[in-house]
Symmetry: C2
Subunit: 345 residues, 2 copies
């Protein structure tokens, strides 16, 4: 079959045309939807293409169309359960609408981030999706200034260019307080991190407000980066004091897992009898038998679907119509998931 030179470079439409005995235009039209080609030439072309292993060069195609088909995903901590699930969902949906994802990892040192971002602008990405709160706003501004279509997830920089997809962190956090309050908890700790991400801050604030309205004060602990280790450390600090809290709202499930483990392993406490815990995100581990964590579910599927909607309804003709999408804000609900770390009322 494969009589082509194996390591040699890619096949061009010209070569296919010569083998099929038609013009290069015919080859181009064969691979363009809606173009006018007769069935016989189409067949000849497809046969020759198959034989040579021809694939349309999207780079050249994108020179002409505005649409490169590339969507750039910018995020940090993509090895984290929540972010990797988000990445999984988004890449899948993108593929379903014939887009392909370029991933920029902003966890490294920031100059390499800058370089990578520049790379991406260079590839004329169709849109840029910012997955996490960590990438600095300056990067986002660079994208916007370069005419990029930017979609922000769970940030609330109030920029006018980008679309924004949010989760009602504040509302959910208020609900978290009432769950714990109704369970009889009165000395409630808030476990957060030093990341200072908009969504985390919104959760802290929402909880604090609800507590204040109920006449309770809360102490906020920020032990380190947003992860298991920080939660564990926070647990060790908070529970070794003379006045132990009887509940904790952890702004992230990872923090909650660490906190619970500290409580049980280091102090032998029982959850939820002596200590109630509420998390956020509903990562897979929250459902594991060792944790059975009561938490709030991130509407990942809805977020991913909304992104594809934004990209598909990217009609340039509808500029400022009533259903204009540019600069829109969408907020999804994070529903509580009841498991076993909060005592039933």
């Amino acid at each position: 079959m494969s009589e082509m030179k194996p390591g040699r470079s890619f096949v061009s439409a010209q070569q296919v045309a010569e083998l099929a005995g038609v013009s290069r235009s015919a080859v181009s039209r064969t691979f363009t939807d809606g173009a006018s080609v007769s069935e016989t030439t189409r067949k000849k072309v497809l046969e020759a293409a198959e034989q040579l292993g021809y694939h349309v060069n999207h780079l050249a195609r994108s020179l002409i169309h505005e649409d490169s088909g590339i969507v750039c995903l910018i995020g940090a901590d993509i090895n984290t359960p929540y972010h990797s699930r988000l990445l999984d969902a988004i890449t899948r949906r993108l593929q379903a609408i014939n887009r392909v994802a370029m991933v920029i990892n902003t966890s490294g040192d920031s100059d390499s981030v800058e370089a990578a971002l520049r790379q991406t602008l260079n590839y004329r990405a169709n849109a840029t999706v910012v997955l996490s709160g960590t990438p600095p706003a300056s990067l986002i501004n660079t994208c916007i200034n370069s005419g990029q279509h930017v979609i922000l997830i769970n940030r609330d920089d109030h920029l006018d260019g980008p679309e924004s997809i949010t989760v009602d962190n504040g509302v959910a956090a208020r609900e978290a307080f009432h769950m714990l309050h109704r369970a009889g908890c009165r000395r409630i700790a808030v476990v957060s991190s030093q990341a200072g991400t908009p969504s985390l801050v919104a959760r802290e604030r929402g909880f604090e407000e609800a507590a204040r309205e109920a006449g309770l004060g809360v102490t906020i602990t920020r032990a380190g980066p947003t992860g298991y280790g920080a939660g564990f450390e926070a647990g060790r600090l908070l529970l070794s004091g003379s006045e132990r809290p009887d509940a904790a709202f952890c702004v992230t499930d990872l923090l909650a897992c660490g906190f619970m483990d500290a409580a049980r392993v280091e102090f032998g406490m029982n959850v939820p009898e002596e200590l109630c815990v509420v998390g956020f995100d509903d990562i897979e581990q929250a459902g594991w038998a060792s944790y059975q964590l009561t938490t709030f579910r991130q509407p990942i599927a809805q977020i991913a679907e909304h992104i594809t909607t934004l990209l598909d309804s990217d009609n340039p003709d509808v500029v400022n119509g009533p259903g204009a999408v540019s600069g829109g804000r969408v907020c999804f609900h994070a529903a509580p998931v009841w498991r076993r770390t909060v005592r039933p009322k």
Copy 2:
């Protein structure tokens, strides 16, 4: 500052040239390393570029160079702890050498996978890295036949085109057996999955062989997909029998976590007193206080580094020299990580 039309399409080198009062060649040379431009025009060009928000179009640049700078990563289950860590490490290293990652998620239905793969071939990726054992061999063959530089991780399809990066699964699995055997375990179960991935099969085989040589038989359970749920289910099945195993080798840490949880929650067993467990991968959760799982560490950093080495040493002039990289096979060692799920000798 930004007097450009905000939503309008990208800036071309021509426009920069006109604003700077130079020829387009001068613009091109300004953004090409090693080209000859005087300092004064260089400055004029950079100023004009900054003002217009110009970024070099990599798509057009890649038309001329062979090097597109894109590396395609194909994998399934990227929301899994092991795979997401691998993805994290690889994307970071790629950015460090000025490449950018395109991610193809093969978890979806297979026709969308095929479409996505075609997409990627179309982008003239510099290389294709296959992350997991799941993508079918036909996809890989498509890549190879199209002249792609393919790098396989933890597969052992014995194809001649691609480079192969492996972990010594068999050796590690034999070591796992001896760890358990030395701890006094004699009724040992192997917990695996129905995925049938090469690396998982190699682990099963290695363990089985070592057991046979020691005069022991083992039972292999394959409860479902490779994950926590399947491990839990396997635990429920195996431990409810009349003759309980006293140890389990789980071919994946996720399986091990599920298995341990079933043992403790459903049957109230103590680990490692009544049941020893060994996992594989050393995912983050293996180090959590609730598990403290003894396992084998996947050399993720080494794998990622080796990939970049392969891409950097991609000297086309050295075709068949002594250090030829094409079709090479590299095997890294998976070192044991001792924690608390195996009794000390």
